[in-house]
């Protein structure tokens, strides 16, 4: 027993750390699914791979209730304004994940129709490679994203 009577009852930390800890385990994702990657996304968000372990299981079907935008699939120039609007409707703090090959880079659709990566108009926090990505890759990205949320400067909103 040390001399400090508060040692066993009080934990000191920083506000950023506490908020990060709280935020990283309650990700509400909005799946913006446009293409074949959606099948893999369904697999990973089901019970078998259990993303609830990371507090990221519940998909919200309104962007106003979500803070994690999962862009799953090819984004065309026709679709881009819609995706931008969905992103703008989400409340801060919010994060964006580009899922697959087409969302991060346009994939092999290098032509008149598709956007060569959603980072052309959105800030992307995490890229998940693969065509489509393995569920393990998605879970790995989720953990990395949580790590990032834990350690980032937290916006007080």
């Amino acid at each position: 027993m040390s001399g400090d009577p508060l040692q066993d009852v009080v934990v000191t930390t920083k506000l950023d750390k506490v908020l990060g800890w709280a935020r990283k385990y309650s990700l509400f994702q909005y799946p913006f699914v446009t293409a074949c990657c959606g099948m893999e996304f369904m697999a990973v968000s089901g019970s078998h791979y259990d993303t609830d372990r990371f507090g990221a299981a519940l998909p919200r079907f309104s962007p106003r209730q979500a803070d994690l935008l999962m862009v799953v699939g090819t984004i065309t120039h026709k679709q881009a304004p819609i995706l931008k609007r969905v992103y703008d409707q989400m409340c801060d703090p919010k994060w964006v994940v580009a899922f697959g090959v087409c969302a991060p880079s346009g994939g092999f659709y290098q032509n008149y129709g598709s956007v060569p990566g959603i980072d052309c108009f959105l800030p992307v926090d995490m890229y998940i490679p693969g065509c489509p990505p393995r569920p393990e890759t998605v879970i790995d990205a989720l953990i990395k994203l949580q790590d990032r949320i834990q350690n980032e400067r937290q916006a007080i909103v």
Partner: protein, 179 residues
């Protein structure tokens, strides 16, 4: 019905409006003059071709050599009674490409023709609703034509340009060469 028979019947009915026949890998197509397009399809309907399988376009501007009427519209029909298939084609010029719509004969032609208009700029006369099917209204031009720049995109919202990885790699190689 044999395809060669079909060709003969179309030639007999349309005379010199049948421009020829084209060998495809495992079938033959009858080439019609654009003015005989709707008439030829009416004949096919009379011969029992009751299903429209497909209608599509192609731009043969530089293949195999430059030509005056490079824009090909092709259609594919099927007869449920005789289990036969028919392919017809017509070639149009790039400027003022215009052909009769097949919607009066086949409702299935509606979206095919809209797609063909969208991608190749073929005007289908008497189409009930000739509007772009896949691209947005703000899009200028017809992207599957060979004279459309292959990398040209028309964003609707402001975007930073995509990274030209080829240029980045070349610059890096040049710098490494200097060092």
């Amino acid at each position: 019905m044999e395809v060669s028979q079909l060709h003969t019947q179309l030639s007999a009915a349309l005379g010199d409006k049948v421009l020829g026949r084209e060998e495809l890998t495992d079938r033959e197509a009858t080439v019609l003059a654009p003015s005989a397009w709707a008439e030829g399809v009416k004949l096919l309907v009379g011969l029992g071709f009751d299903v429209m399988i497909e209608l599509g376009g192609a731009d043969y501007s530089n293949y195999p050599e430059p030509k005056a009427a490079p824009l090909c519209v092709s259609a594919h029909f099927y007869s449920t009674a005789s289990n036969a298939r028919a392919w017809i084609k017509a070639y149009l010029p790039l400027e003022g490409a215009e052909i009769e719509s097949l919607v009066p004969q086949f409702a299935a032609a509606n979206w095919y023709e809209r797609e063909c208009y969208d991608m190749f700029g073929v005007q289908f006369k008497n189409h009930p609703y000739l509007k772009r099917l896949l691209l947005y209204d703000e899009f200028v031009g017809h992207p599957l034509r060979k004279d459309y720049p292959i990398m040209k995109s028309q964003p609707l919202i402001p975007m930073r340009s995509a990274v030209d990885y080829e240029a980045v790699a070349m610059k890096r190689r040049a710098e490494e060469g200097k060092a």
